[in-house]
C-alpha cells in the first residue's frame, strides 16, 4: 500500500506535498480540475482555509517538520482576493519565509506560492505536476529525521552545559 508516502529515501519514495488552498479561488479551481476530470499526480494533500492570508508561516514549517517534501500555498490573483488583500499579506510572509527556509537549507522548489483563480483548474494540474517532478528530482527533505538529529544535538549540548554548570557549582562550594 505504499506507492507514495514514507519520508524515508528508500525505493518507491514519492514526494508528499501539503497544499493550503484558499476557499474562494484555488480550492474552487481544484474542484474545477476534478469536475473537468483533469489528471494530476496524487502526491498533494489539500488543506482548505478561507483565505491565503490565514496561512501562518508556522503551518508551513510544521508541514516540513512532519515530513512534507514540499508545501504549496494557493490564493486568489492580486486584486481578486475575496477578502480584499489577504493574498498580499501572504505574499509578504512568503518573502520572509523563503529567506528563512533558504537559511535552513530548504531548496527553493520546495515552497511555492501560486495565484490560481477559480477558473484555472488547468493551472492546479500544471503546478502540482511541476512541483512533484521538481521535488522528485531533489529527493526527500527528511526533516523529521534531521529534527531528530537536531534534537539529539541540542540534548547533548544541554547535557554538556548542565555538567559544566554542576562542576562550576561544586567548584564554588569547594572554594567556600
Amino acid at each position: 500500500m505504499k506507492t507514495e508516502g514514507n519520508s524515508g529515501s528508500g525505493a518507491g519514495w514519492s514526494p508528499r506535498i501539503v497544499a493550503f488552498f484558499c476557499n474562494w479561488c484555488t480550492y474552487t479551481a481544484a474542484d474545477l480540475a476534478g469536475v473537468s476530470r483533469l489528471k494530476y499526480a496524487p502526491n498533494v494533500r489539500v488543506i482548505r482555509l478561507m483565505c491565503s492570508g490565514r496561512v501562518d508561516p508556522q503551518f508551513i514549517l510544521e508541514a516540513f517538520a512532519r515530513g512534507a517534501d514540499g508545501v504549496l500555498v494557493g490564493g486568489c490573483h492580486p486584486n481578486d482576493c475575496h477578502y480584499v488583500e489577504g493574498n498580499y499579506k501572504m505574499l509578504r510572509r512568503a518573502r520572509m519565509l523563503e529567506r528563512l527556509l533558504e537559511g535552513m537549507g530548504v531548496e527553493r522548489e520546495r515552497f511555492r506560492l501560486e495565484w490560481i483563480s477559480a477558473a484555472e483548474g488547468e493551472k492546479v494540474k500544471v503546478v502540482v505536476n511541476e512541483m512533484v517532478e521538481r521535488i522528485r528530482a531533489l529527493g526527500p527533505l527528511g526533516w523529521p529525521e534531521r529534527m531528530g538529529e537536531w534534537d539529539r544535538e541540542v540534548a547533548a549540548l544541554a547535557e554538556r552545559v548542565a555538567v559544566e554548570e554542576r562542576k562550576q557549582q561544586e567548584g564554588e562550594v569547594e572554594h567556600v
Binding site: T3, E4, G34, Y40, R48, M50
Partner: protein
C-alpha cells in the same frame, strides 16, 4: 432525543460515499472505511452508495441516536457542494452542525487520479486528517444579520428588465442601472425573434414602459456602477450618473429641441443604428427609448464644446427649461441587500477576421447591422438595400464568424445558426434575393428550433455545409461591386466560388471588453473565456461565489432570449428568497482575541480590510468586532503571540490536519 453533554468522550461516526462509481470506481471505499474504523475515537465507520441521498442522511441520523455519536466525518464530494446538506442532517439529529468535517475525495481525488492504490492511499491520508481534526471542533451558532430588501439590477437588457419587473411586482424597491441612455439592450435592435418570428419590439416595449412607469423601480440610465462595498444584505453601491445635459424630470420627450437644433440635418453616426443612420447632437436614441428622454452628446454639441451656439434647442424647450448645459457628473450612493448582474455581451468584431473583408468591401455587413436594415424603424425604414441603394439579388450569410474557431473564440455562440436562419427568411421576404447559408454544423437545439430550421430550409434557402475561406471582389468588368464567396462544400467535396451582392457575417457573442473590471467590482470570477462564473453550473446556475450577487442573461454565457428571461426570473427568485427570509445567515468562522494572551503589539490592527479590529487603550489589548469580521483569518495568521482564534480554522485544528495528512 439524545442530547450530547460536554463531558461525553469523543465518539466519531465516519461515512465514505461511493457516489455511484464516481468515487468507488477509483478509490477502494471499503478499505477506507476499514482503515477509518481503526483510528482513534471512531465508533462507527461505514461506506454507502450515495451519502447525500435521504437514506444516506438517515443512516447518519440513526447512528447518532444509536451509537451516541458526537462528531461526524463524511468523505464524499467537495464541501462547497454538500457541507451544508450534512450539517443540516446532523443538526436535525440533535448535534451541533459544526461538529462535522467533510473530506473531499471526489473532486480532489477520484476524479483527478487514475491509480487506484495511490488514490486509496491518499483518501486515507485525507480521512485521517479530518478524524484528527474533528474532536477539536467547538459548538458554534450560525449568526444572523438583517437584510436590506432593496435590490440593484445592473444592466437594462431583456434579462435585467425582466428581473427588475419580477422583484418590483413583488413589492421590492429595485434600482435598475444601465450604461446606455436607454434600456432595451440588444433585443431592442432586433426586428423579429426566432423561432416564432414575432416582432421583438412588440414583446419588449410593453416591458420597457412598465419599467419606466413602475412605482418600485428607480431607473438610472446613462449610469455606471463604480464601487461596491459591504456584503450580502448590506451592500453600499456607488453609481456614476453621467451628464446627459437634460434634466430628466423636466423633459417630456417631445423632441422640439431635436427639430430646432442648429444642425438642420442629422449629421453624426447614430450609435443605436450602429452608424448606419445619422442623428443630431441632441437626439432620442430610438423612437421607443425608455426613459423617453433626449440626450445631448458632448462630443458633437457646439454649445458643450465651445459655448458659442445659438442654443435654438433651449429656445424650443421654452418654459420647460429641461436643457442644462452645466450638468455635471454625479456620484450617488445606494444601499441594497442583493445585486443581480445582467450586463450582457458584445458581438464579435469582424475586423479580427480580415479575410471576410468587413470594413473593406462596403457590402459586407454584420448580422446586427442587417437587423437594423430589416427593422422598419431602422435607417432604411426596413428596406434591405446595398450601399448604392439597389436591392441585393444574391446574399451570402456566413455562420460562425468569431465562434468555434481556434484563432478567435472557441465557444459556440448558440444563437447564430438560428438568427442566420431568421435573417435568411427576412432578407428573402424583403428582397426575394437568393440566399446562401454557409455553415459548419447546423445547431438548432431547444424548443421549436429544429422545426424552425426545417421550415426555413423548405423556403428555398440554400444551405451549404462549409466554412468560408475568403471573400473578395469579383474581378470581371461588369462586377459592379459584386463579391465572390469562396468555400469548400464539404458534402459535395468541391470548392465553390459563389458570386453575391451582399455578405452577412453571423458574428458570435463575446464578453464585454471590460468584463474583468466588472467582475472585480462585484468580487466575482470569470471563466477563462471571460464569461462570469456561476457558483455551480447545475446546482447554483445563477448564483456567484459572492453571497447575494446573482447572474442573469448573456454575461454568464451566450444564450437566447427565452433562456435569458428564464434565468432572470431565477435570479430574481434567488434574491427574493434571501430578502423574504428577512435575515442572512453567516458562517460563524469569525475571529476573536483571547484577551489574556494578547500582548497589545497592534500588529493585527492595520491588517483587517474591514476595520473590525480596534485597540482597547484602557486594557492595552486588541478587540475584534465580530459583526464586522468576515472570517478571512489574516489577523490570525499574523498574530505573533497566537492570541487570535478563528472559529472553524483554529490553529490546533489546522495543525492536527497537517499532522493527519502526513502521518503515514
Amino acid at each position: 432525543m439524545y442530547i450530547p453533554k460536554k463531558s461525553d468522550p469523543i465518539r466519531i461516526g465516519f461515512y465514505v460515499c461511493h457516489c455511484g462509481v464516481n468515487i468507488a470506481g477509483t478509490i477502494d471505499v471499503k478499505a477506507v472505511a476499514d482503515y477509518a474504523a481503526k483510528l482513534p475515537n471512531v465508533v462507527v465507520a461505514r461506506d454507502y452508495k450515495y451519502m447525500c441521498s435521504d437514506p444516506g442522511q438517515e443512516l447518519i441520523q440513526q447512528d447518532i441516536l444509536e451509537h451516541r455519536l458526537n462528531r461526524i466525518v463524511v468523505a464524499a464530494c467537495s464541501p462547497l457542494l454538500h457541507e451544508s446538506t450534512f450539517r443540516g442532517a446532523i443538526s436535525k439529529a440533535g448535534i451541533n452542525p459544526y461538529f462535522f468535517q467533510m473530506v473531499n475525495i471526489r473532486e480532489h481525488n477520484s476524479w483527478v487520479h487514475t491509480d487506484r492504490e495511490a488514490a486509496t492511499h491518499k483518501a486515507m491520508a485525507q480521512v485521517r486528517a479530518a478524524i484528527a481534526r474533528v474532536p477539536l471542533h467547538k459548538p458554534l451558532e450560525v449568526k444572523k444579520a438583517p437584510i436590506n430588501p432593496n435590490v440593484l439590477v445592473v444592466g437594462g437588457g431583456i434579462a435585467g428588465i425582466h428581473a427588475a419587473l419580477v422583484l418590483a411586482n413583488a413589492g421590492k424597491l429595485v434600482y435598475l442601472v444601465e450604461r446606455e441612455p436607454t434600456i432595451g439592450g440588444h433585443m431592442a435592435k432586433f426586428d423579429k425573434t426566432f423561432p416564432t418570428l414575432d416582432c421583438a419590439m412588440c414583446v419588449l416595449s410593453p416591458k420597457m414602459s412598465a419599467v419606466d412607469k413602475h412605482p418600485n423601480i428607480r431607473l438610472w440610465t446613462y449610469s455606471e456602477v463604480v464601487k461596491v462595498d459591504g456584503y450580502v444584505g448590506n451592500y453600499r453601491v456607488t453609481v456614476r450618473r453621467k451628464p446627459r445635459y437634460i434634466i430628466e424630470d423636466l423633459c417630456t420627450g417631445c423632441q422640439e429641441c431635436v427639430n430646432a437644433c442648429v444642425y438642420k440635418k442629422p449629421t453624426f453616426p447614430d450609435e443605436f443604428n450602429l452608424g448606419l443612420g445619422k442623428r443630431k447632437p441632441v437626439f432620442l436614441p430610438f423612437p421607443q427609448a425608455v426613459p423617453p428622454i433626449v440626450m445631448i452628446d458632448p462630443e458633437t454639441c457646439i454649445e458643450v464644446k465651445t459655448g458659442k451656439c445659438k442654443k435654438t434647442c433651449v429656445e424650443a424647450c421654452g418654459d420647460r427649461k429641461a436643457i442644462d448645459f452645466k450638468q455635471q457628473e454625479e456620484l450617488r450612493e445606494i444601499h441594497v441587500g442583493t445585486i443581480i448582474v445582467a450586463t450582457g455581451f458584445k458581438t464579435f468584431d469582424p475586423h479580427r477576421t480580415p479575410y471576410y473583408g468587413y470594413g473593406v468591401y462596403p457590402n459586407v455587413y454584420t448580422a446586427l447591422e442587417v437587423e437594423r436594415l430589416v427593422n422598419s424603424s431602422g435607417p432604411t425604414a426596413g428596406e434591405v438595400v446595398l450601399k448604392n441603394g439597389e436591392k441585393p439579388k444574391k446574399v451570402a450569410i456566413i455562420h460562425c464568424v468569431g465562434s468555434r474557431d481556434e484563432n478567435t473564440n472557441r465557444w459556440c455562440s448558440r444563437v447564430c445558426c438560428l438568427y442566420s436562419l431568421k435573417l435568411a427568411h427576412l432578407i428573402h421576404e424583403r428582397t426575394e434575393a437568393e440566399i446562401f447559408n454557409f455553415y459548419i454544423d447546423m445547431r438548432s437545439p431547444g424548443k421549436s428550433m429544429e422545426e424552425f430550421y426545417n421550415r426555413i430550409s423548405e423556403e428555398g434557402i440554400q444551405m451549404i455545409r462549409g466554412k468560408v475561406a475568403d471573400v473578395f471582389p469579383d474581378p470581371s468588368p461588369d462586377a459592379n461591386g459584386r463579391l465572390i464567396v469562396k468555400a469548400e462544400d464539404t458534402l459535395m467535396g468541391r470548392i465553390l466560388h459563389v458570386p453575391v451582392d451582399m455578405v452577412v457575417l453571423a458574428v458570435g457573442l463575446e464578453p464585454h471588453p471590460d468584463a474583468d473590471d466588472v467582475r472585480r467590482l462585484f468580487n466575482m470570477s470569470c471563466s477563462s473565456e471571460g464569461w462570469f462564473l456561476e457558483r455551480h453550473p447545475k446546482l447554483a446556475p445563477v448564483s456567484t461565489p459572492t453571497e447575494g450577487i446573482f447572474l442573469a442573461g448573456c454575461c454568464q454565457g451566450p444564450k437566447d432570449i427565452p433562456d435569458s428571461v428564464a434565468q432572470a426570473g431565477a435570479a430574481a427568485a434567488e434574491a427574493f428568497s434571501l430578502i423574504d427570509r428577512g435575515h442572512i445567515e453567516m458562517e460563524p468562522n469569525t475571529a476573536y482575541v483571547v484577551e489574556g494572551e494578547c500582548s497589545g503589539c497592534k500588529s493585527c490592527v492595520p491588517l483587517c480590510p474591514y476595520t473590525a479590529i480596534s485597540f482597547l487603550a484602557d486594557k492595552q489589548k486588541a478587540y475584534i468586532n465580530e459583526a464586522l469580521c468576515k472570517g478571512c483569518g489574516t489577523c490570525v495568521g499574523a498574530c505573533p503571540s497566537g492570541s487570535i482564534v478563528q472559529n472553524l480554522f483554529e490553529d490546533a485544528e489546522v495543525f492536527s490536519e497537517i499532522e493527519g495528512v502526513l502521518a503515514d
